[in-house]
Structures are given as structure tokens and as C-alpha cells.
Symmetry: C2
Subunit: 121 residues, 2 copies
């Protein structure tokens, strides 16, 4: 058994690509993913699960059809299942995402913005 | 629907008691809990679930029967289900715990160190 801590800053230092979540830990069937975002994403939702965003560095805005939430470092938000949302970051933001294994970043929308899933770092 | 961010520092500012986890968010049937620890806890395990520790401030040591892991701010560790562990902090440490709703802090050990469960803040 591995008793090494998972260091978020160290994990963020291992890659530069934006919008490409990397799995860093798993708890039961849920995964912890680090991701760097900048700019606009597509509208999507996750039909079968909530999705948790924790901002580690920077500022994230999550747009909803009827509003938005703005998250700074040390802030989190749980997007309920089935709720359409669109992440946006003016400057690069570093996030920790938590959601069940197998959830795609674009929900069921697919398309060119869909990242490889279950990619560990 | 509430689009307010959950701010960890603000939540930690709402209470002083140690070893008393407070729920701050829920994702499906999993809860995010903030807790302040200092000193030694009891040996326990969780038979049915992994448990995630993320250190927000301070240093946490988690002892296992055959070793230990030391976590500083920005570090995390997932304790696998069924693995006996004992958290320890020389000075107060602020943690984010993630585990399914209904999990007690002492596992199935019970006793005077068992905190009230499902307590929101």
C-alpha cells in the first residue's frame, strides 16, 4: 500500500494543456481530477450525477441558464445533476473536480471539446 | 436554486470546536465536511467506504498499523475502506473530509469521541 500524499501543486506542475482533466485519486467509484481552464466552454449537463468544482488557484465563473456563480481560490460549488452549465475563466484557473468515474467533461454533448476520460497523472 | 459559492475559510470561521465535522456541501450521496483537529484520535476504520482527507491549513499525520502519511496544506489522501487509521495533529489542522453521507467519524467503534453526524453549517 502506498502512503504517499497526493500534492495538488505538484500534479498541476506535470502538464500545461487546458481543458484536459487528469485523475489524481479515486474514492470508491468517485474520481478527483485536476484541470486547467481558460476561456469559454460549451453548454452541457450531466444527466446522472452532480459535479463538484473546487478552485485551487484563479477565478472560475460557472454560467447557468438563469444566473452564474463566481468561485475564487478556496471556494467550491456542486452543480446539481441535469443542470446546464458552462465554465468560463478569463485567466487560467486551476480546479479540482470531483465526480463519479466515467463522467465526460462535455456530459452527453460530445464533440471536439470532449477530453480523454479516466486519464491518470 | 442557490448559486452562492461555498467558501472554506468562511466556514472554518464559524466554529472553534475540534473533532466535530460540519457538512458544507453534498454531491449525490457524498458529503463535504470541514473539521478542525488537534492531538490524537482513536484507531478506527470504515468497513463500507473509502474516506478522503484534504488538508486546507496545517499538518496532518494519518497513522496506519504499518506506517503513516504526512499531509500539508494542498495535499490529500484517500484512506481505503477497511484500513485502520488514526489521525494526529501536533497543532490544529483544518481539513476537508469527503465521504458518503452517514459515515461516523469513529467508524463502528463508537464511544465518547463519536461526533454528531450530518450536522450542516
Amino acid at each position: 500500500m502506498d502512503y504517499a500524499a497526493v500534492n495538488l501543486a505538484q500534479k498541476f506542475g506535470l502538464f500545461d494543456e487546458q481543458w484536459q482533466p487528469r485523475v489524481i485519486a479515486q474514492m470508491n467509484d468517485y474520481q478527483f481530477k485536476v484541470v486547467k481552464l481558460q476561456g469559454d466552454f460549451i453548454w452541457h449537463d450531466h444527466q446522472h450525477t452532480d459535479e463538484t468544482f473546487i478552485v485551487i488557484d484563479g477565478v472560475l465563473r460557472i454560467d447557468f441558464r438563469d444566473g452564474a456563480v463566481r468561485l475564487g481560490a478556496g471556494e467550491m460549488f456542486v452543480v446539481p445533476k441535469g443542470v446546464e452549465h458552462k465554465p468560463y475563466a478569463e485567466r487560467e484557473v486551476k480546479l479540482l473536480l470531483i465526480e463519479p468515474r466515467g463522467v465526460f467533461n462535455t456530459g452527453h454533448e460530445g464533440g471536439e471539446r470532449t477530453a480523454e476520460n479516466d486519464r491518470w497523472i
